[in-house]
């Protein structure tokens, strides 16, 4: 976790009319970090992710990825440079099966030049497709149509699709939202296990502090468009401003050891 930052965000601003959605955001991300982004609804977390991934154009400021300026580039160019993301509402191809979703994603990322016209069913792709299904543990849903999937599986599929372009940095927007409490750690384990194997730097938005505590190496807290805290989790979760504006006073004060998560 050293060397030049992989992602540099410098003085990022975003305004919608009179509303300031992001104000003077400065974040440096190093390779291999797992960063949790927390904040109340409307604090500017998703706006931040949307700007980094090209969904929204910043009003001012700079975003550098591996030293290259990617500010204001459209999603597809951002993706091509090596950044990928998932969504709060899973963005999958609803009318296709899980297998076809992933195969399509693989084919599209492998569509330079003549490849775009080759049949989609070709051995290298289908092999990778099956492997990925296994890695994300969704192979038993192989032939299920995406619109019929349980929420957790959908999330996994969404992230698996985000990963086919082999990004070096991945932004996840609430990977466990809508997932039942029993399932959430299981799903996070699958995700983090798969991502570790690919050595990806991860930023994820999360409301659930148990997850934040357990998986992240650093916490960035947003409040009203500003970063109010950028510290390791054990410090961030006892930060008074974070407790006041983000997680609420009722959350247990003592920082638990990793692995001793409380089951409900």
């Amino acid at each position: 976790m050293s060397g030049d930052p992989i992602l540099q965000v410098i003085d990022l601003q975003k305004t919608f009319g009179a509303v300031v959605a992001a104000k003077d955001i400065n974040i440096d991300v190093s390779t291999g970090e797992v960063i949790g982004i927390i904040g109340a609804n409307g604090a500017g977390k998703t706006t931040f992710v949307n700007m980094v991934t090209g969904y929204l154009k910043p009003s001012s400021g700079t975003i550098r990825f591996e030293g290259r300026d990617i500010t204001g580039k459209p999603p597809r160019l951002v993706t091509q440079t090596g950044i990928s993301r998932s969504f709060q509402v899973s963005q999958v191809f609803t009318s296709m099966t899980v297998y076809d979703n992933l195969l399509t994603a693989l084919a599209i990322t492998d569509s330079r030049g003549f490849n775009a016209l080759r049949p989609i069913q070709r051995p290298d792709l289908t092999r990778r497709c099956e492997e990925t299904l296994v890695r994300y543990q969704i192979d038993q849903y192989h032939d299920s149509e995406a619109s019929t999937l349980p929420q957790g599986v959908r999330k996994l599929l969404d992230i698996a699709m985000a990963m086919v372009s082999k990004p070096r940095i991945l932004l996840l927007d609430e990977p466990t939202s809508g997932v039942s409490a029993e399932e959430k750690f299981n799903i996070m384990d699958i995700i983090m296990g798969a991502l570790k194997a690919d050595q990806v730097t991860v930023l994820f938005i999360e409301h659930d502090m148990e997850i934040v505590e357990r998986y992240v190496s650093r916490v960035v807290a947003f409040y009203q468009g500003e970063v109010i805290c950028d510290k390791p989790p054990e410090e961030a979760l006892i930060d008074s401003r974070v407790r006041e504006f983000v997680i609420g006073e009722e959350y247990p004060l003592e920082v638990r050891e990793a692995g001793s998560h409380a089951d409900h």
Partner: protein
């Protein structure tokens, strides 16, 4: 993808579809005692009421009379060369492309021996090559554009009435000789061959007959079947020209007359309607007085009172059956059917039995015959295109009898209003109407 469906039996399925389609088609062998005639006319759309239906009715009474031998002498023999006609009335609407496709069906699928009809010039221009390709006798009844025979010589096509040049040359004669005050003119015509040719012929003829007359620069060519002419009527009203020429027909004509009358257009301007005859009966009392009307030849209201046996039979039979006087299209369709009968009979006489199509065509070519209202000579287009006299009159409602009337009728002989054989209409008019016998 597991959803993709196999289609191995596609070929089989196609053959099945093909066979079932073929089973539908009646492939009748034609006996000599029956011929199949198709009569296309507008049976839907705006032209159906004023044109299509009267045309169909005209053909119907004549065919019925021929089948039963009830036409007046000398045409009182039964049938077409003795053969009874079975007739299919088909719809001409839907555009020329559709008519081309439909014509192929008429001949190739439904096995028609003769096709008699067509009202729109658009249909006739489009059909000419197909008719020649399919080699089936086709008698054009009403359509007017001269292009059909002037572009090419045709073998299987006949037209038993004069083409549009006659209407417009006669209109020019009428206007220049009977309305000396007219020294400027403009036009409103439909935006297709009929309207464009009509205007060109009229414009050129007036220029020849009265070179001092001036044509307007702003000519209106609204889309056929447009229906609303408010803005055009304003433009015409503002135009300084004293006379308006129009070859409008069918529903367009009636709409234009209504809207123009309400706007006082016909009080302000002289108007000549080359196809106005049909509107006179249909509009009745609402038809403004003082309009110059033609009927595309000696038909309809212009010849209602001609006292020949044939004309009286036609007018009375029509009126008894349909309750109105026969307008122009009824005469024109009736005339086309009659001409076909005469050609068949003549060919049969020459051949000594039921004639072949070739023999009928030979008999038809160059034929001269007495029709219901006039004498028809198949003089142009190597004997395929008829010439007849052409006339105009001025509307005047007959309050005494409560029916439409017409005054100041003047006819011009066929040789006065039609070019001689071998010269195209435009060349003939431009060249000073050489050889015209007026």
């Amino acid at each position: 993808m597991r959803k993709r469906k196999p289609s191995s039996r596609l070929g089989v399925a196609l053959v099945a579809a093909t066979l079932s389609a073929m089973a539908f088609s009646a492939s009748s062998v034609h006996a000599k005692d029956n011929i199949k005639i198709a009569v296309p006319a507008f049976l839907s759309g705006g032209a159906a009421g004023p044109f299509g239906v009267p045309a169909r009715n005209g053909a119907e009474i004549v065919i019925d009379a021929i089948n039963t031998g009830k036409l007046p002498a000398p045409y009182n023999s039964k049938g077409f060369a003795g053969a009874t006609a079975s007739v299919d009335f088909v719809d001409e609407s839907g555009g020329s492309t559709k008519q081309v496709a439909e014509y192929r069906n008429l001949v190739q699928k439904r096995g028609m021996d003769v096709v008699i009809g067509y009202i729109s010039s658009g249909s006739c221009v489009a059909l000419a090559p197909v008719i020649e390709e399919l080699k089936t006798l086709t008698v054009l009844a009403t359509c007017g554009t001269p292009r059909v025979f002037e572009e090419k010589s045709r073998k299987y096509i006949f037209r038993t009435m004069a083409h549009a040049t006659a209407d417009n040359v006669a209109a020019a004669h009428y206007v220049t000789s009977l309305m000396p005050s007219v020294d400027s003119y403009t036009g409103i015509n439909q935006n297709y061959a009929w309207g464009q040719d009509s205007w060109r012929d009229f414009d050129l003829s007036v220029q020849h007959l009265k070179s001092s007359a001036k044509a307007s620069k702003k000519l209106q060519f609204p889309k056929i079947f447009a229906g609303q002419y408010g803005t055009e009527i304003s433009a015409l009203s503002l135009d300084k020209s004293k006379l308006i020429h129009s070859s409008f027909w069918g529903g367009d004509l009636e709409a234009f007359i209504f809207q123009g009358a309400a706007r006082g257009l016909f009080k302000k301007k002289k108007v000549v309607f080359t196809v106005g005859g049909t509107a006179a009966y249909r509009l009745g009392k609402k038809m403004p007085n003082g309009l110059v009307l033609g009927a595309r030849g000696p038909y309809g209201i212009l010849v209602r009172d001609r006292k020949t046996a044939l004309n009286e039979w036609f007018v009375n039979t029509y009126k008894n059956r349909y309750g109105t006087y026969p307008p122009g299209p009824s005469y024109q369709y009736g005339q086309a059917v009659l001409a076909t009968k005469i050609a068949y009979d003549k060919a049969a006489k020459a051949a000594g039995g039921f004639p072949t199509q070739e023999q009928v065509i030979k008999a038809f070519t160059g034929m001269e015959f007495e029709s219901f209202s006039t004498t028809v000579k198949m003089a142009l287009g190597d004997g395929h295109q008829a010439i007849t006299e052409n006339g105009y009159g001025i509307t005047k409602y007959d309050n005494e009898n409560g029916e439409p009337g017409i005054t100041d009728v003047k006819f011009f002989p066929a040789e006065c209003v039609m070019p001689p054989q071998g010269v195209t209409s435009v060349d003939w008019i431009k060249g000073g109407m050489k050889g015209a016998k007026c």
